[in-house]
Every structure is written in structure tokens, then in C-alpha cells.
């Protein structure tokens, strides 16, 4: 349908549908009818009873002509009611929002027309939190959350988190309000108005649209969802005009909700799959490197099957939960050695394949060298080959490969497994079994070495990062747990992955994607929101620098009763940056005792327990004695089991 514009014609036309009534503004200038005053005659001086002496405002109102008092007629609904119908059809469970007037129409439709259920509004204190919550939620649920924000200031706040989601190839469904029609903009709507709202994030979103009619909206809303969820997945943006949301439409207006059919992800081409199967079966020491591979819970099951069929080592780079941490074929802890040994290296949705095959030395003069053996065959399966953008450089260095399948790795695994099985002879099977035994031994040795490594500095205060992980594990290992975030960026050195037994798809949710700090706290709350329905225990290893970006998300967790155990890894610094600056000091051969300047979070120390308590979150700390940690986690766990968030502030060593 054509959009109802505020031209003189449409104004007259619309008036026919309008009924008498009172809006707050109108009440100031119109003598109230009895209906207007129900329930608040006494309290509100603007609603004086007829018996009371006339207030000056009322006298002025009597002198003025009656205003055109406007409410939705019986035969009408609003544009945003229809929008909610469409959003409901897409199955959104929640909309995260910091409230904003540019989407007030939609906000009202969500709570009144939609009954604030599917989608239910989640009140957020920062748009960056809204988006990161959506990011974390998706990683558990495999479904996007809607995020509502102003087209200008809201999106500006949200943009870093969108960038993280983009780099992590996670869909976020961004819904922006904007008053496009300059002729009817009021006050702040001028600052919140923009010609092309999505422009500022177009480099790191997959698709956007600004619909001009409700039919246009419906198609674009469904299309956006479909595009966001088609691998490689990524955020999308819908810009919803304030007028389109707020103008009434007739209930009989024929508006259809388009049907969503998600495309089946592309499988590797048959010939290429068979060629890879031949390489793998013939290989002496193949290694499978998985990064953003497990797109669904089935991904891990498939990778286990392929690895076991071949008795091949697996390196789980950890952007997704790709492989059980204690599986005998898991070679992540000796990843570099596994690559150096390999004669066939298969990258499954690996974002940085060059970094698997090569190493870059970070000294005053950077230098690169290949770590894979010469002649090793290199194969990639990734939807990354189907889609690349120019401006932001998340595509990493170009890696020479012998075979590249522009396909979804998880979708390709079933045919690859079948192709491999067809080729395995009894001779090869014997060779595989010997290899498997060797790898299992290597993985047992690595696991034992990790436990021994964790025992050093066991009694130290501040608490060692290994002990922090071990204490959490001891408390949660008998629960149905999910580690919703942790700061560890590298998988080889990641204490939970070295010490804990990860077996289920939701137990490890990867990283921020773009390395934008401030992801951890809100992503944890979003993931915990998703886990809540499944009755799982959500656990976050929460860093101090990360929490200081937007701590208001703790309030969101308390307000919406989102159970989450946050155990802090509080090293009182942006420690990664200290190491960077130290490198600069050393390289410049001066001031090596000043590397901490500018990156510490001390003087005063931040009291995270008080911060959390102020927002209604149960909290303890700061804990410095490692022996106090276990009991504190146990107490916090009791709170979380009752359905609330809890935080334990632990002062830890730097790394």
C-alpha cells in the first residue's frame, strides 16, 4: 500500500477515522469530558472537576476552539501492530532495547498488541549491551534476537557490538527507528533523524532496508531474517520510519505476512568432496582444524564422526564448540606441533587459515615464517569464500590452498564422511588405529601437563588464573553447565578448555569476534537468557575491564531474573595492553619499568561487589585468598539456582 503521508488530503482523509478522545497534550487545552477524568480527577491538577474554581489553563482552553482529539478508531490498527505480526511470524522471543522515541509506536505495539510475549521486551541500559546480548543469545539458541534502537544515537552506541557480531558471523536483527519526514519532525527527532540510517554500519552488516510501505516492510523484514540466517551469517538492519509505525491503517487493509523459508546451506561439490576424501584416506598425519564450523548442535557430532573414521587429530580453534575438549583425538593443546606434523591440513570455516599454516613474529621488525611442512596439502571448506567485504580487514591474509570448497563446512561433513568411509580399506584402517593410539597418548600427556601446570602457584594471592578455573570447575562439574563467556583469546592457553570437560554444544560459546572489549558481560547475560529456558547453569568468567564498559547489563540481569554466575577474573588492569606497551618499551630499550602506566585499573580499586549489589545482584568479594574462593562460589551458586544473577569478585594475577 502507499504510505499515508501527512499531506492536507491525507489529513482530511484520516480525520474521518478519528474519534473524540483525550491525549495528554490535548488535555491541557480542552475542557475534560467525564470520560477523560476517570481514575485521576483528584491527583492531577490538569483534570480539575467542574465544581472546582476554574484554573487559568482551563479558562484559556475554553476560549480556544476545540482541538482535533485523535485516537485509533475501532476499525483501525497501527502500522506497528502489523509489524509486530510479522515479527511474531519470525519467532522472535525477545527484543532488547534501550527505549527510544523513534520506535515508540513499535514499542507500544509490542507491549499492547503483542502482549509483550514473543517478542518480550528486555530493558537494556546501553545499545552495545542490547546487541552483545543478542550475540550471546544466538550462540546458545541458534536464533537471532531483535534489537530496537534509535537510527542515530542508538545505532552509534550499538555499532561496536554489531562489528563484533559481524566478525564472528553471528546474525543480529537490528530494528532502527527514524523519522524520515522532515515536515513533521518534532524537537529531538531532528537529532534522531537521518537520511540513510544504516549507512554507518553498512560495511559490517549483510543487508539493510528502509521500507516505504507496510507491504514493503513485510517482505524486507522476512528477507532480512533469511539473509541474516543464511551462512555466512551476519547482522542485518531494518530502518522503520516513525510515520509508518504510528499512522493508523484500516483493519481491513489487505496486508500479508510473507512466509519464511530458510535456504539450505551449500554443500561442497561432489567431485571436490571425493578428492578431499582420497587425500584424507591416503594421508599419514592429517589434521582437521575447525573454527566457526559447528553451526548447529549436530556440527560437533559430525566432526567427531569424521575424526574417528580417520583417527585424525582435531584442532578446535574455539570460535564455536566444535569438538569435545577431552576427546582423545583433540590435539588443540599441541596445535602447533600437530600442524607441523601434518601432511594434509583441512580448515573447516577457519577465519585465519594463514595463521594456522604460518607464524608472525612480533618484534621491532615483524617477520613471518611457515610452520606447516613443505608440500603439506592444504584444503579449505568455508562459506567465507562466498562472501567478502572490502573495508574492514577481518578476512585475514591470503593462504595458498590446494583445494578450496566455497561451501558450508557442517553441511559438507555428511557427504565427506560417506566418501571417506567408501575408501577405507582394512590396511588403511590398521594404519588409522595406530595413528589414533599415538594421538590419544599425546592428548593424554597434554592433559596431564595442563593439570600439573595448573598446580603451580596454587596457594598464591592474588589468585592464579589456573586456580580460578579449577575452583569454578569443581563447583559446576556435576551441573548442566554452560560457560557463556571467558576472556581467553587463545585456545592453547585457555584454562577452562585445558581443565574442564566440554562435551555439549552449548558449553563453549567462543569469543567476541572482532576483539571489541565490552562483549563479555552483555553476551553472558544474553546467553544466560537463552539458557534459562533450558534450565542450564550459565557461568561467566568476567573480566574487570570488560565489565566497566557497560555494567548496566547487571541490572538487566537482575530486573529480568536471568540466572547467571559471574566469577570475576579481576586483574585490575587492561592487561593485554600492558603487555603490548611493555613490548614497545623493550623494543625501544628504555623505561622497561613503566609499561603499566595508562593501562591499570587501580587507585582506587573498583569494588565490583558493591557495583553489582547496587543493581540488585547478589555479590561477594573482592576475594584475594584462593582458599576463600570455593565457598564463595558455592554460596553464589545457591542464589543462581533460585533464578537470580550472582557475582563473585576475585582478584587474580595478571595472566
Amino acid at each position: 500500500m502507499a504510505r499515508t503521508k501527512n499531506t492536507p488530503e491525507t489529513r482530511v482523509e484520516r480525520r474521518r477515522f478519528l474519534q473524540q478522545g483525550a491525549l495528554a497534550g490535548a488535555a491541557l487545552v480542552v475542557a475534560p469530558s467525564p470520560a477523560d477524568t476517570v481514575g485521576r480527577v483528584q491527583e492531577d491538577p490538569a483534570y480539575q472537576t467542574p465544581q472546582a474554581p476554574p484554573a487559568p489553563m482551563t479558562m484559556a482552553a475554553e476560549a480556544a476552539p476545540p482541538a482535533d482529539v485523535q485516537v485509533l478508531g475501532d476499525g483501525e490498527r497501527s502500522g506497528s501492530d502489523f509489524m509486530v505480526d510479522v515479527f511474531k511470524s519470525l519467532g522472535f522471543e525477545y527484543f532488547c532495547a534501550n527505549p527510544g522515541s523513534s520506535f515508540r509506536g513499535l514499542h507500544e505495539s509490542v507491549i499492547n498488541h503483542g502482549g509483550n510475549r514473543a517478542p518480550e521486551l528486555i530493558t537494556c541500559c546501553h545499545e552495545e549491551s542490547s546487541v552483545a546480548m543478542a550475540h550471546g543469545y544466538f550462540k546458545v539458541e541458534g536464533k537471532p534476537l531483535g534489537v530496537l534502537a534509535h537510527g542515530t544515537v542508538g545505532l552509534q552506541h550499538a555499532s561496536m557490538a554489531l562489528y563484533n557480531a559481524w566478525c564472528d558471523r553471528v546474525p543480529v536483527y537490528m530494528i532502527l527507528g527514524n523519522h524520515s519526514d522532515a515536515a513533521i519532525r518534532r524537537g529531538a527527532e531532528w537529532y534522531h533523524g537521518v537520511q540513510d540510517a544504516a549507512a554507518m554500519v553498512r560495511d559490517y552488516t549483510k543487508w539493510d532496508d528502509t521500507p516505504w510501505s507496510l507491504t514493503h516492510f513485510a517482505e524486507s523484514a522476512v528477507r532480512a531474517y533469511k539473509i541474516a540466517l543464511t551462512p555466512p551469517m551476519a547482522p542485518v538492519v531494518m530502518v522503520l520510519d516513525g510515520g509508518l509505525q504510528e499512522h493508523p491503517i484500516s483493519k481491513s487493509e489487505p496486508l500479508a505476512v510473507p512466509r519464511l523459508t530458510l535456504p539450505v546451506p551449500p554443500q561442497g561439490e561432489q567431485g571436490a568432496v571425493e578428492e578431499l576424501a582420497r587425500m584424507l584416506v591416503a594421508a599419514e598425519s592429517p589434521v582437521l582444524v575447525a573454527d566457526r564450523m559447528a553451526r548447529t548442535p549436530n556440527g560437533m557430532t559430525l566432526l567427531v564422526e569424521l575424526a574417528e573414521t580417520l583417527q585424525a587429530g582435531v584442532i578446535d580453534q574455539g570460535s564455536r564448540m566444535n569438538f569435545p575438549s577431552r576427546h582423545p583425538l583433540n590435539q588443540t593443546q599441541r596445535g602447533r606441533a600437530a600442524v607441523t606434523d601434518a601432511d594434509v591440513i583441512v580448515g573447516l570455516e577457519v577465519a585465519d587459515f594463514w595463521g594456522v599454516v604460518n607464524a608472525l613474529r612480533d618484534q621491532l621488525h615483524r617477520s613471518a615464517r611457515r610452520v606447516a611442512r613443505p608440500g603439506a596439502k592444504i584444503v579449505s571448506i568455508t562459506t567465507g569464500d562466498l562472501y567478502i567485504r572490502s573495508n574492514y580487514q577481518d578476512f585475514r591474509r591470503m593462504q595458498d590452498v590446494d583445494l578450496a570448497m566455497a561451501a558450508d563446512a557442517e553441511a559438507t561433513l555428511p557427504v565427506l564422511i560417506e566418501a571417506v568411509k567408501r575408501l577405507v580399506t582394512s590396511d588403511r584402517r590398521r594404519a588409522f588405529e595406530e595413528r589414533g593410539a599415538r594421538l590419544a597418548q599425546a592428548s593424554r600427556t597434554a592433559a596431564a601437563a595442563s593439570r600439573t601446570a595448573a598446580s603451580y602457584a596454587w596457594e598464591a594471592s592474588p589468585v592464579s588464573t589456573a586456580r580460578l578455573s579449577a575452583e569454578i570447575w569443581a563447583q559446576i562439574k556435576t551441573e548442566d553447565w554452560s560457560l557463556v563467556s571467558s576472556y581467553y583469546s587463545s585456545d592453547q592457553t585457555n584454562w577452562p578448555r585445558r581443565l574442564w570437560d566440554f562435551t555439549r554444544p552449548y558449553q563453549w560459546l567462543g569469543h567476541a569476534g572482532g576483539g571489541g572489549i565490552g562483549y563479555g558481560a552483555p553476551a553472558s547475560v544474553g546467553a544466560a537468557l537463552a539458557n534459562r529456558r533450558h534450565g542450564r547453569l550459565s557461568v561467566a568468567i568476567q573480566t574487570d575491564g570488560d565489565l566497566m564498559y557497560a555494567p548496566g547489563v547487571l541490572w538487566t540481569a537482575a530486573h529480568h531474573r536471568i540466572p547467571l554466575l559471574s566469577v570475576m577474573n579481576n586483574n585490575r588492569a587492561y592487561h593485554q595492553e600492558i603487555m603490548h606497551v611493555q613490548k614497545m618499551c623493550n623494543a625501544r630499550n628504555r623505561g622497561v619499568d613503566r609499561g603499566e602506566l595508562g593501562s591499570q585499573l587501580i587507585d582506587p580499586n573498583i569494588d565490583f561487589a558493591k557495583l553489582a549489589q547496587s543493581m540488585g545482584v547478589y555479590a561477594e568479594g573482592p576475594i584475594t585468598n584462593p582458599n576463600d574462593l570455593g565457598p564463595a562460589i558455592r554460596r553464589a551458586l545457591q542464589v543462581v539456582k533460585k533464578g537470580e544473577p550472582a557475582l563473585v569478585d576475585v582478584v587474580t594475577q595478571a595472566r
Partner: protein, 133 residues
């Protein structure tokens, strides 16, 4: 303001494989083996070593007790022989930042070495229930 850690992640990932196997991995050749005459550490003062260890930033990557783990290998207790220790600090072959004699004297290094040698040994892993597999 948003700070990014992409570069940082690379640093850590490169450092990571060295953990616990600096010697074995040809990618991280450490200093040539020391001649027997060099093998003894000069007398070091562990107390001063503790101060220096913190002050010049060893703790940042090797953790407070030299236990290592996330950003550098374990270097205490029982660090590598002194000559190699000194050589590595002066001429690291991996990602570790170099410390020249201008910013850290040989005596300073010896003091740090003494501090690392004096770190307590951990309890046996099997006696720590939190580390049960």
C-alpha cells in the same frame, strides 16, 4: 571508547604454543646450550629479584610466581640453566621482548633468577581435589 584486541590475540596465540615445550619446538629455538663454565648463576638476591620481576614486567607474561600459562611459559621454580636464562632474556628468538644490559644488568638478571629458583614447589597434583580429572 572501544579498544580492540585483535593484535593482542595474535600475540597471545603465537606465544601460546611455546608453553611447556620451548626446547622441543624448532619454531622457538632458545639460546644455544651454555658452556659448562657459564652454567653457574652469580650470587643473586631473591628479595631484590622479586621487586625487579614485578617492576620490569616479567610477571606480565610469566605470572607472579613464574608459573606461566597464558602468555608465556613457566620459568620458575627450577628455571632453565642460568647461562641460557640470561641468553634468552638478551636475545629472545620468539615473541618475548628483549631486555638489554642497558635496562636490566647482569646482576639484575641474577637476582631475578634467584627469585625464580626460590619459588615454592606445588603440591602433588593428585592431592588437589579441584584438579581431579
Amino acid at each position: 571508547m572501544t579498544r580492540t584486541m585483535v593484535g593482542a590475540a595474535i600475540v597471545v596465540m603465537l606465544a601460546a604454543p611455546a608453553v611447556g615445550r620451548v626446547q622441543k619446538d624448532p619454531a622457538y629455538q632458545t639460546a644455544p646450550a651454555a658452556k659448562p663454565a657459564d652454567a653457574r648463576a652469580p650470587a643473586g638476591r631473591a628479595g631484590n629479584g622479586a621487586t625487579l620481576y614485578k617492576k620490569v614486567g616479567c610477571y606480565q607474561c610469566h605470572a607472579n610466581e613464574g608459573q606461566g600459562g597464558l602468555a608465556g611459559p613457566r620459568i620458575g621454580p627450577s628455571p632453565v640453566p642460568y647461562a641460557r636464562f640470561l641468553q634468552y632474556i638478551r636475545n629472545p628468538t620468539g615473541d618475548m621482548p628483549p631486555y638489554t644490559a642497558r635496562v636490566l644488568t647482569n646482576q639484575d638478571v641474577a637476582d631475578i633468577y634467584a627469585f625464580l629458583e626460590a619459588r615454592p614447589r606445588p603440591p602433588a597434583v593428585d592431592t588437589i581435589p579441584q584438579l581431579a580429572p
